[in-house]
């Protein structure tokens, strides 16, 4: 089985590193080739890494509440780079405070994310879906 490449990182000025390390381990154990950019990752770094590694998906984390601002324009930057149709997920604490989930989800879908995950998502909660979305 050929292994799919995913780019992983925590966007913006966010330094929450623990979930990122856990995701790297879980995705690697699940057979993915993981390119982990760590924390404090800019949009540019995400785009470049996806291009360079010919990635199949981008997994964006945001824990600290600024995702709304930080993720704006990422899909557009990917389109501009010629990989506009790459699969893209986002997960974490996406907004400041505890807002109605359906609204949060809609907001980030509109920003171009294919799937949006709420706080406390466990690896086993989304990895099966990721495999399906990547045709595994």
């Amino acid at each position: 089985m050929e292994s799919k490449t995913v780019v992983l990182g925590v966007i913006g000025a966010d330094v929450h590193a623990v979930g990122n390390k856990i995701l790297e381990i879980a995705l690697t154990e699940a057979g993915f080739h993981v390119v982990n950019l760590g924390v404090l990752v800019s949009q540019k770094e995400f785009v470049e890494a996806a291009l360079e590694t010919n990635a199949d998906a981008i997994l964006v984390s945001s824990l600290y509440g600024h995702a709304e601002i930080d993720a704006r324009g990422l899909r557009e930057a990917l389109i501009e780079a010629g990989i506009g149709d790459i699969l893209m997920y986002i997960g974490g604490y996406l907004v400041v405070g505890n807002q109605e989930w359906s609204e949060v989800e809609a907001k980030f879908k509109q920003l171009g994310f294919d799937r949006v995950y709420p706080p406390s998502t466990l690896p086993e909660d989304f990895i099966p879906t990721l495999r399906k979305d990547l045709g595994l």
Partner: protein
């Protein structure tokens, strides 16, 4: 920046040029007028001075409660603090700074601030104090009737300190290690140490003028399975570095690990270790107090369960006689808390503190043993650090981190070696599965090995990285030790 770094006191006059640059780095820097600021501080009633309030609590043997809180807009932030004061019955107030400001991205903060005002909700996870400037910040200090502290996570907090201290804040959290290693990725440790020497020297200047400002290294670091010896080492070093710059009122911090004996032992050794190493530097006139952070790792989503975690933290703080406790909320695993949730958590905390006010964890062999372990481990780390620094704590810190002699688990910084692997023992105390380059003597190494083997036997699995993962999720899944499912 960090060329020629030493732990010696900076010359105030030589700092002039740097100050001018710092103050020019954002328009509000112009508002800083030290003479006017000193005048304001002199008129501030004693009960609004954070440092004095802490000393009073220490003298009375009381533990004070302090929340975290910060929103973008000035008026909303003031309302929030007033609510926590009146409905939360809090002893101390915070002003938590947003994450853009923490990275000195004032432009982004400005944009988000404007958008927040426009949308009528905070798009920032804290209060952008630099953007609000001296006059704005002063409205906070003047508007409340509890002492207020600046809480953040900023590797380079020079401008933030200039502005908030000039505005009348009387306490400033952070330090060159504790606000770098867990809060940054590529800021060289020497740089942040030097930035924080500036901050400490500024506080020292206020002190020279008769105004005591409280300084507090950030104890919990990454908040995730940080064993006492790691956070104590950082606390002692930052305490010494601050004292060298003339700081006289220091609060040393520690984040709850979860095993009651380990937590109380940690609190009991924190100031004694600091005194020991300060004395060795010939420093005897620093007032030390302690802060205990309620559980800093992942919380349970269920608010009822979160109340339990909050109360347990308060219990350890009270039985360990911390001077203050930083309060989490039942919204911890949901997002930034509402003011109601924040106030409730303070009241829960205060009820525990009050009910345990006259009690302490009784002295016992187990407690003494735990203290001894912490003392030996921390001394091993600190002595090696000083050795690496050839007698200089600032240099020693840089070299110790490079060598993994100090090593913070799960830290994002590339200047942290990241070779240790903590895990809980069978009673929930945080131990080391791998101690990397921590300079532990053989008997301490054997102690950790034995403790984890004991757990392994109880769980019928060899000690391994899976234990660490299980421990990380454990509290949010309703327990302390991550037992196999």
């Amino acid at each position: 920046m960090s060329e020629g770094l030493t732990h010696d006191k900076l010359d105030w006059n030589e700092l002039k040029e740097e100050r001018a640059q710092v103050l020019a780095s954002w328009p509000t820097g112009r508002e800083v007028d030290l003479d006017e600021a000193l005048e304001f501080h002199r008129k501030l009633p004693a009960e609004l001075n954070f440092a004095k309030r802490l000393l009073q609590a220490k003298a009375e043997g009381k533990t004070l409660a302090q929340p975290r809180a910060g929103v973008a807009d000035l008026n909303s932030h003031l309302q929030l603090l007033l609510y926590l004061q009146d409905e939360g019955e809090t002893d101390l107030l915070p002003t938590t700074i947003d994450s853009y400001t923490r990275q000195n991205r004032y432009e982004e903060a400005e944009k988000a601030l404007l958008e927040s005002v426009r949308e009528g909700r905070s798009l920032l996870n804290g209060f952008p104090a630099v953007n609000h400037g001296v006059a704005g910040c002063r409205r906070i200090v003047e508007g409340v009737s509890r002492p207020v502290q600046v809480r953040h996570g900023t590797p380079d907090a020079r401008l933030l300190a200039e502005i908030t201290l000039a505005a009348g804040f009387t306490a400033f959290e952070g330090g060159g290690i504790s606000y770098n290693i867990p809060y940054a990725k590529r800021v060289p440790l020497g740089d942040s140490l030097r930035y924080w020497q500036y901050v400490d020297r500024l506080v020292g200047f206020y002190e020279e003028q008769g105004i005591t400002i409280n300084r507090e290294p950030f104890g919990p670091l990454t908040g995730t399975l940080v064993a006492p010896c790691i956070s104590h080492s950082v606390a002692v070093i930052e305490g010494i570095l601050a004292a060298k710059q003339g700081v006289k009122n220091i609060t040393l911090g520690y984040g709850q690990c979860g095993n009651l004996v380990q937590d109380v032992a940690a609190l009991q050794t924190l100031t004694s270790l600091a005194e020991e190493y300060l004395r060795a530097e010939g420093i005897e006139d620093v007032e030390l107090t302690t802060v205990f952070h309620q559980w800093m790792g992942g919380f349970p989503k269920d608010e009822a369960k979160a109340y339990a975690v909050i109360a347990l933290g308060s219990t350890a703080a009270a039985l360990g006689k911390a001077t203050k406790v930083i309060v989490k909320t039942t919204h911890e695993a949901l997002g930034i808390p509402t003011k109601e949730a924040n106030a409730q958590a303070i009241r829960t905390t205060k009820q525990v503190l009050n009910m345990l006010q006259d009690q302490a964890l009784p002295e016992s062999p187990a407690l003494a043993e735990e203290r001894e372990i912490i003392l030996q481990e921390t001394r091993a780390i600190l002595n090696k650090t000083l050795e690496l620094g050839e007698g200089d704590w600032a240099l020693g810190a840089v070299r110790a981190f490079a060598a993994g002699v100090i090593d913070v688990p799960f830290a994002p910084s590339t200047f942290n070696l990241g070779r240790t692997m903590p895990a809980r023992d069978n009673e929930g105390a945080v131990r080391f599965l791998q101690w990397g380059n921590l300079p532990f003597p053989k008997d301490i190494q054997n102690f950790h090995r034995a403790k984890l083997e004991e757990r392994g036997r109880a769980e019928r699995r060899p000690p391994s990285f899976q234990m660490v993962v299980d421990d990380i999720y454990a509290v949010s899944h309703g327990r302390l030790v991550g037992r196999p499912r």
